[in-house]
Structures are given as structure tokens and as C-alpha cells.
Point group: D2
Chain length 258, copies 4
């Protein structure tokens, strides 16, 4: 068994809005070590954010911002072509807004993980990635920037002098180049909790996972994402956490002292 092996379990939460409820936050959060809270641009509103911060705090889960393109109707999943300075400013705005709400619960923001189309674009577009990393560094250089393992966002975070966290998706198939198999293709999504848990353990302990055609892709796995909108997300989170702990991996927040 490896010494000092640790990983964070994160989930996107606080994605309800007004009268609309989404996700399984109360059941999911207790199994996580970090949550990424929507900041009002793709989901979330000040009331949902307050409630979600309080929930995370009750379970001693680390709080992070989940900023997005401004597109509530598209849930932040539609690409918008913005200038770098526009992206920097909207990340600052959302980060600050969450910090403001969190302050009322005596909580602080610990990390930042972009959402949806912004996350995906920042994986390959270095200018966009630098804009996001720049916003985080200017807001608070002690924050941790979470991005796709091997992505431009991780490199941008390092360039900005930030601590970064490489994220893997245990419920998603990977291609040999480290990219995710696009949804809709065979092997894109794993739904069985046991299979997902086994993949998580492989990613963390072995630093990689098999592609669908049997190749091995190397991955740095500092945080494992649990998709909160999957049916059975709480059960998957529980299974992943149990499997990791059984395998001798300490599951703890990125920001926690080791």
C-alpha cells in the first residue's frame, strides 16, 4: 500500500435556481470532500448559494466556486466567444459573489473549478485558461485551481503561480490522448457504481486507466469528480469513497493539511 496517497472527491452542487430544483445535494454532499458551487450565471441564485454553503459547512466539506459563461437557459453548456478580459471579469464577479454569500456563513472559498463550456474551452484554449487563472490569482492567490488533468487550464494555473488540482472523471471513458470520449459515443459513460469505483481506484493508485480499445492513458488524479445530476449520484459517491479508502487512499479536501 502506497504511503501518503490522497485524493479529493468533488461534486458540482448548488445548481438549483429559484423554484427549480436540480441534483441531490443533501444526499450527495456528505460523501464528498469538496463542492463546486454554482454562482448564478449558469445556475444558482443568492438564496440557493446561501443554502448550499450552509449545507457544505455542516458536513465540513471544502467550498469552491463554479463560475460559468452567463447563460442560464443553456446551463452554461453553450460556448460563448468572449474576450479574455471579459472572462477574467466574469470570473472575478462570480468568485466574489460566492465569497460574499459564504462570509455570512462564516465560510471561505478554497478552490475554483470552471463550469461546463467554460471548463471545456479552458482545457484547450490557453488564452481563455490564462484569463481564468489570472482572475483567481488576482482574487486570492491561495486558492486552488481545478482543471481537467493534462489541460491548458492546469498549465495556466501554474503559470499564474497558483496551486492546481488535476481532475479525473471516473464515470467517463478516456481516449488515448487524455481527452474524454464524447457523450453519445460507446464507452463514454459508466453508470455502474462498482465499475466507477474501480476506475477511480485505478486512476488514483496507478496514475491512469484503460481506454475502451485497451490502451493505457496516464492521468494525474488529484481530485475525482462525481456528477451530481446522474441518478444514483449519492450511491456512486459512497461507493467510490469506500473503494478508495479500502485501497488505502486517504480521501480529503484539496485544501486540507495532509
Amino acid at each position: 500500500m502506497s504511503h501518503g496517497m490522497r485524493v479529493d472527491l468533488n461534486g458540482d452542487v448548488g445548481e438549483s435556481f429559484g423554484a427549480y430544483s436540480l441534483g441531490h445535494d443533501p444526499a450527495l454532499v456528505p460523501h464528498l470532500t469538496s463542492v463546486n458551487i454554482a454562482c448564478g450565471f449558469h445556475a444558482g441564485d443568492p438564496d440557493v448559494m446561501r443554502r448550499t454553503v450552509a449545507l457544505a459547512r455542516r458536513h465540513s466539506v471544502a467550498i469552491g466556486a463554479h463560475p460559468s459563461f452567463p447563460d442560464l437557459q443553456g446551463f452554461g453548456r453553450r460556448v460563448m466567444q468572449l474576450r479574455a478580459d471579459e472572462v477574467e471579469n466574469l470570473v472575478l464577479y462570480q468568485l466574489g459573489a460566492l465569497a460574499g454569500v459564504a462570509a455570512a456563513e462564516g465560510a471561505a472559498v478554497r478552490h475554483v473549478k470552471p463550469h461546463g463550456a467554460l471548463y471545456n474551452a479552458a482545457a484547450t484554449d490557453s488564452m481563455l485558461a490564462d484569463a481564468i487563472a489570472g482572475a483567481v490569482a488576482k482574487f486570492d492567490p491561495s486558492l486552488i485551481l481545478v482543471g481537467l488533468s493534462g489541460s491548458e487550464l492546469i498549465r495556466a494555473g501554474r503559470r499564474a503561480g497558483l496551486r492546481t488540482a488535476s481532475e479525473v472523471f471516473a464515470d467517463r471513458g478516456y481516449r488515448a490522448d487524455g481527452a474524454l470520449v464524447p457523450r453519445g459515443e460507446p464507452g463514454a459513460v459508466f453508470e455502474d457504481a462498482t465499475a466507477v469505483a474501480a476506475r477511480a481506484v485505478a486512476m488514483v493508485r496507478e496514475g491512469g486507466v484503460r481506454t475502451s480499445d485497451g490502451q493505457r492513458v496516464s492521468l494525474t488524479a488529484e481530485t475525482v469528480c462525481i456528477h451530481g445530476d446522474t441518478p444514483g449520484a449519492p450511491q456512486i459517491a459512497e461507493a467510490v469513497r469506500a473503494a478508495l479508502e479500502t485501497a488505502g487512499v486517504r480521501v480529503m479536501a484539496l485544501s486540507a493539511a495532509s
Copy 2:
């Protein structure tokens, strides 16, 4: 000449939005000691906020948040009936958002002044006033809460343990009970810079002003508002400031050490 007499000159700024330009910020800000920056709910967007914070900083003017009901079309001037917790959360959100943008310019938020319908409602509705004061105190108890002189908002700020600043409008007529003469009625608005300046001096030096029918209304004047959307606002600000200084009043930000 009175010893230690001081006052702040504040203006609502950063009320442009996207392609839309409003106000005379670059000409007005140099004459002020504090600015109240729109936070995106009635006006302002992350880019406008960033630009406005930078402008204030260049002129060493104190930065405050100008939170509003969420009503861009109505410019925050239409009453919305929200619960107290909704108001608390939307003030936290806007305060945080501005603080986030300000951080990128190395600036900090020093005060909070609600906008439009929220300001007016908080002058008489103590529950709403407590919600606003509570948000400010939870966000940062060192912030100064600006409200209408003699209003419920000032009382709520004191109840919350905040430092408060009583605001007067030198370009507006007052009724004997301390309320503003409603726009549209005779004596509601003063447009002549010299007249406005004289009223400002009276308010600060004598602690009150004459009503249109010759009565005297007492006013605590810790900050004088210059309406930025008035034509000639920069000239009025300049005249008010010069008249105050000539009268021996030190014009300085609320947050400045005396």
C-alpha cells in the same frame, strides 16, 4: 471656522451596462471622495465594474457597493416585494461581487449604499433595513452603511453594530418631517450649482436646511450625494466641494482617518 467639521461627497457611478453608457463618471469622480458602484442588478456589469473601480482608484476615491433589487429594465427603481432573507442574500451577493472585481485592482470596498427602490424602502421599512444591515455586518463589520439621514436604515445599521453615515441631498427639497419633496412637486429639485452648494454648506455647517414654506428641518449630514445623472453633475460637484472647503469644512471620505 468650526473645528473638525468634515463631510464626504458621494456619487452613484458605474451605471453603464454593456454597450450602454450612462452618467459622466470620468468628469465626476475627481470631485468626489466616495463612489457607490452599481453591482450588476440594476446597472453595471463585470467589465463596467472593473473599469469603474480602476477610475476611482486613480483618483483615490473611496469605493462602496450600490446594491439593488434585481431589475435591470427598471433600473432598480421599481419596488419588488421580497422576503428579508432574499434581500439579505442579494445584498451579500452584490457586495461580494464588487469586492471580487475590486480585488483585481488592489482595492477594497469601504461602504455600502443601497440603490433606488431598495434605498427608499429601507428608509421606512425596518425589516428590510435590518436585512440590509445584517448582510453588511455579516460580510464585513468594518464597512460603513450609508442611508438617508434620519431613516430606518441608519437605525438598523446601529442595531447591527455598524458605523453609519447619514446622507443628505443638497439638490433636493426637504419637508419638515425630514422626507424629500417628491419629484414632480414644486421645490423638489434644485439645479443651480450655486444654490445647491449653498444648501450643502447649510446642511453640513448648520445641521439643517429650510423647507419651501420657511420651516427649518434638522438633518445630520455626514455625506452629501451628488446625482451623477443630472446634466452638469461634474460642475455641481465641483461647486459644492469648493463651497464646503471655503466654508472651512474638510471634504474627505467617510473611511478616511480624520
Copy 3:
């Protein structure tokens, strides 16, 4: 059995938005004769509206607009103080928007029922009621205006020369003055499908219903509302419809030739 007795069964539908799903439209719509479709201001977006029009059309259910105050976060349930001309214009906008989407499905709008806070305010505020009725009459004077039975909105519709439909809520308690028992008070809400169905039959056949303290309140019942967000809404709709038909009442759309 009464001759010519008829009633409409209506439901508020199309209240999903983007990634957010609300209500039980596919199960509910087949039991209704009219639907009120959200127009994007409190709920609904162009895609949801299109889908909802198509659903209604498949089941030959009459299509109506469900305009609201512009308040997505508050789901149109928060009062906003708007001028009459603002209300007239936002009703025109929403009515037109739905008609535009409906045109693509070969469907026409037949009626209008305001939503939430706008519906409630228009029940007692005759200026607001006239603004809504005016918008409908200017858009298409052949549309039917649906309002609370006995309300100002019904009177305003008549003043504007519109055909009106008096609405009753079989699942809500009434006070002796014809107002609804406020939610939260005893007797405000009936959840048992059989009880709701019996009340609907009484309202339509006897022109009234008992209050909780045994008085009788007279009600004109031209359309019965089924709340779509109640759990079991489809079952309630089915029970109400069956009970009405068993009682010899023809259940048909307001706009249907008798």
C-alpha cells in the same frame, strides 16, 4: 341532469426552463381541455414553449398564454410595482411571443390567464386589471380572458369588450367573501382527489361551495384550475374530469363551440 352545463379544465404548463424540469405536463395535459403556457418571464423558454405547444396540439387541448411579471428567480410570485403601461406592454410581448412559437406548430392562442403575483394583483387592482385586459383586446379581441371568479380582472375584461372566463380552484378553500383561504391557514388546500373532484362538481353544478365554517359562497365556475405542480396532479385532473362527466357536465375548452 342539467342541460348545456359545461366547464373547462385548465392547467398551468410549460413551466420548465432550460435544464430545469417542473411539473408533469405529459401526464397532465391529456386530462385537460385548456393549458396556460408560460411565456419566458417567470418560466418557460422558446424551446420549452415550442415543446409544450406541440404537446397541447397532439392532445387537442386549447392553448393560452400565461404572462407574468419579469421575475424568473421568483417564479413570478413576487409583487413588482409597475406602471399600467409597463404591464400592458409586457403582456403584449409575452402574448406575441407565444403566438409566434405556436404559429410554427400551426396552433393559435385562444385565451390568456395571468400568472402568480400578476394574477393575484389583477384580482383586486382595477388599474392593473385594465392594463392586462387592454393588452389582450389590442392583441386580439377574440381571445378569452381568464381570471379569478368575481375578480376585478373579470370586470376589466368585460369593460374591454372581451369574452371572459371565471376561474375556480377546486383544491383550494374559499372564504365567505369569495377570496381564497391563504396558503398556510387551515382549510387552504385540499389534496385528496375525491374531495377535490366533489368540490369541482359542486362549484360547477351548484354555483358555489361551502366555506370551512359552513357558510356557502357563490362562485361562477366557467373553468376549473388544476395545479400542475401538486404531486398527483394528473390523477386529480383525471378524477375531477370523471366526476364532472358523471355529473352530466360537459368538459370542453372555453373556445370550443358548444
Copy 4:
């Protein structure tokens, strides 16, 4: 002098929003024969739309819809990657909304011209162009679709069986391939009213114009756009109209019987 030569003069109007004023509509509209009215997605609100329809009607100018991506902050100038069905539905929504507001002024929509990033994308993306044309045809097949001369949008309009109008920009430089010289490059914009007027006459009478390097580009010019946000737009419109009429071109709305 050519027989039967005619052209339309169009302008984008109604681009104010709430407290924000943009453009010179009252001075510009009298010189035009058609106006494209913002529908609330990039600019405009129900009140602005109503006012603008009334203005157009007072001057007997043809009314058209100016639909956009949903991006008020970006004024519809930022590309959003939407599916074709999303674009179809948002065009239907905006078209209907304008028709609803126009109905209250006894006016009808006669044409549709997409705005900003949607206009530009539809010039080259045939799927997007088909989505827009499909929306227009489904809403009202008698409407005229306005697009860049030589663009995919014109071809899509023809495929959809619509009457189309090829638009030229007399104040913009063209490349030999018929595309506009991008703003910021030399020869991109003409600001002198006389020069713009001469170009308009050449485009209409000679069916083309010179590029900056002296080549000739052929253009079909059925409608000439006057940019309303240019300083001096009303004067340019007046000069263009006078020059066209002097050259024997009848300036009349697309929808006018010849």
C-alpha cells in the same frame, strides 16, 4: 435613367433599454423606408418596442424584426454556439413578441433582419441560415428576409420559399469576394456623408462598387443599411436618400407595391 429602379433604406432602431438610451431614432426614422426593431434579446424592451413601433408608424416606415442571440450585455455581438432548433425557436419568439407589441399600434411586421453576431454567422453558416429562414417561413411566409447580399442567409430564404432582400452597406468597404472589410482595417468604414451617398448610388445603379485596391465587386442591392449608432446617422441617411432620388432611384419600402 433606369426604369423601375428602386431600393429600400433600412436602419436598426429601438436599441435603447430601460433607462439606457441608444441611437438617434426620432431624427433617423423619417429618412428611412424600413426599420429593424430590436426584440429584447440584445436590446429593446417591451416599452422601447412599443414606442419604436409608434414612431415608425407615424412616419409610415415599414416595420421589421431584428432578432438576436440572447445576450444583452454583449449587445448580441458575441457568437453563441446554439443548435439549429434553438435558433429557430428564439427567432420565432422574438418575431412573435414584436408582432404582439406592434398589434397594439395597429401595425404589422413586414420583414426580418437578424442582428449582429447572428446576422454575421448566418451569412456563412447554412444550417444557421436555414434555421432562421425556417422560423420566418413558419411564422408568416409573406415576410421578407433581409440578409447580406450574396450570403447563405439569402440562399436559405430562397430555399424556404421566402421573398428575400439583399442588403448592402454603403458606409463599409467591400473585399473582392463580397465580404465586408473587417472593422479596424484600412478602408473598412466611410464616414463622409457625400462619399457614402455616392457609394449607395453606385451599388444600386451599377450593381457593384470598387474595392480599396481598385477591383470591382458585384453586389445585389435591394436595401441599403444606415447604421444608426454612427454619429451623424440622420444626416447620412438624408444624404443617401437625396442622392438616390436625384439619380432616379425610387426609395421605397421592400414591402411597398411598386
